[in-house]
């Protein structure tokens, strides 16, 4: 007879829960990229606010990025915060509600934007369930850290982004709100991209970067400055929307840029303390996303100072793909093999030979894909800058092809 005490943290999640979200996300990603192919002519002329672009953008941002973030949080929050998920049963219900809400919302945005309000409410309900789930989970954490602050604040912004989105959909539905529609739209983009996604990626990067590089003895003090600067930036930009003040907007962009500069320098300082000399390709890809995010924060500040709305639209598109989507892709290349490995091999460690996480994926294919993603984004940036339809079509075809290849790479993990 043998016993284990207390080796189990008791915090691990049923892998089917994060897997449900992540598999939905991978398929939604391919669908969003294929949809964007149809919108190439409009995109290249700087017209982003069209039903088809809305549908593709929301399928990408909600179907892929949001669902991945939710799935990853169901896996990462328990291990990183040493706290079990409050209710896994609620998690499965939340997945169903959110998945149906996203599909219905994207379809109605493309086909009949005026009717997007009701599916939008269903989606908002899914978001509320998720935020409630995570709030109850984080509440149980014994010792709160700066990471908790980043993640908890990002959840608050997710809720506000969803509420602002529902209000926008209501404007179309009830043909009202013309006076403040632009401000609410700005708030929706600001809270979604900076408040939710960026703060969340920053927060988890503080766990992932030291873990994947085996960094040790680094200071976490700069994370407080990152948080303070970035939150102040969001607050100033938020104020500018309602004050209709260009000066406040420029101040907000400057603060957001400063926060991101400190964040990128902090990640660099952490990596300088690493024990693992050669970093994995997927993790290096996530680091490339940090560099892209940094460059785009600087570019956004410059575009706001010179007052270029067209450039700001292009920067937002590149920010979504280069910073948010690339960060998520990089981390998914690590998370999916880990989840499948845990499911398949965790109980066999110590009894028989098991593969390493690196061996769960075709490393060569991952390396090629990472290079092509960067090439496709560079091509898209040039195409948008010179407003070239053929060039953008090539870039978008490459992105669509890569999203399918990415889905294939993820699904191939299950054969290991």
């Amino acid at each position: 007879m043998s016993s284990v005490f207390p080796t189990r943290t008791g915090t691990e999640t049923d892998v089917r829960l994060p897997f449900s979200f992540i598999m939905f996300a991978v398929l939604a990603f391919a669908a969003s990229q294929l949809l964007l192919l149809w919108a190439v002519p409009a995109l290249s002329s700087g017209a982003f606010r069209l039903p088809l672009v809305w549908a593709a953008a929301h399928l990408g941002l909600l179907g892929f990025a949001l669902m991945t973030a939710m799935g990853a949080m169901y896996q990462l929050v328990p291990v990183a915060f040493l706290t079990p998920i409050w209710s896994e049963r609620l998690g499965f219900w939340q997945f169903a509600v959110t998945a149906v809400g996203i599909v219905a919302f994207a379809v109605s945005l493309a086909a009949a934007p005026k009717r997007a309000f009701l599916p939008g409410l269903l989606l908002l309900f899914g978001i509320v369930l998720f935020v409630w789930q995570m709030a109850m989970t984080l509440r149980q954490q014994e010792t709160k850290t700066v990471m908790t602050l980043f993640v908890a604040t990002s959840l608050l912004f997710l809720l506000l982004t969803g509420a602002a989105g529902a209000l926008l959909a209501f404007h179309f539905f009830a043909a009202t709100g013309a006076n403040h529609h632009e401000a609410v739209f700005g708030l929706h983009v600001l809270f979604g991209l900076c408040g939710w996604f960026t703060l969340l990626i920053m927060g988890f990067s503080y766990k992932m970067a030291p873990m994947f590089s085996l960094a040790h003895s680094f200071s976490m003090r700069p994370a407080r400055y990152v948080y303070a600067l970035y939150i102040s930036g969001i607050a100033a930009a938020f104020a500018s929307l309602f004050l209709r003040s260009h000066a406040w907007l420029a101040a907000g962009a400057a603060l957001l840029m400063s926060g991101f500069v400190v964040f990128a320098s902090h990640i660099r300082a952490i990596l300088q303390k690493r024990m693992k000399k050669t970093l994995d390709r997927p993790f290096r890809f996530s680091l490339a996303a940090v560099a892209i995010g940094l460059a785009l924060h600087v570019a956004a500040f410059a575009a706001i100072v010179v007052g270029s709305g067209r450039w700001l639209g292009i920067i937002v598109y590149l920010f979504i793909v280069g910073w948010i989507v690339f960060s998520i892709i990089g981390y998914l290349f690590k998370i999916v093999p880990f989840l499948w490995w845990t499911h398949r091999y965790s109980e066999k460690v110590g009894q028989q030979h098991v593969p390493t996480l690196k061996q769960m994926m075709n490393e060569r294919a991952v390396a090629v894909q990472c290079r092509l993603w960067l090439a496709a984004l560079s091509l898209a940036a040039v195409a948008l800058a010179v407003a070239s339809v053929p060039l953008l079509a090539v870039a978008q075809t490459l992105l669509a092809g890569l999203s399918i290849a990415f889905a294939g790479t993820m699904l191939a993990v299950f054969r290991k």
Binding site: S2, S3, T7, L82, H216, G350, Q351, T356
Partner: protein, 100 residues
């Protein structure tokens, strides 16, 4: 070969799947108490909140259970003292890209 040597040999088969290095070379094993058919292991992980916590600690238990005559294996994970890179062997450092 005595039980302690056998135990260390078995522990070298437990690999951290992220780093590809065994738990002994990583310096995760703090103490091994062997009395009769019982082994008590005091160990750590490279970071608190490691997603591989249960896989590695469970692997240590299963590996030691395979030794003839061992009836009971108890594994305790501690964060005090925390793991430091100085605990790694030269082999682990070499695998992490040092000395090249």
């Amino acid at each position: 070969m005595d039980v302690r040597e056998l135990a260390m040999q078995q522990l070298k088969t437990v690999i951290d799947p992220e780093l590809g290095i065994n738990v002994v070379d990583l310096g995760l094993i703090y103490d091994l108490k062997i009395a009769g058919g019982q082994i008590d292991v005091l160990m750590t992980l490279t970071t608190p909140g490691c997603p591989l916590h249960d896989s590695i600690a469970g692997g240590v238990k299963r590996a030691l259970e395979q030794i003839d005559g061992v009836r009971d294996v108890r594994v305790q994970v501690t964060w005090n003292p925390p793991w430091t890179p100085e605990r790694m062997s030269e082999e682990a450092l070499r695998q992490l890209g040092h000395f090249s």
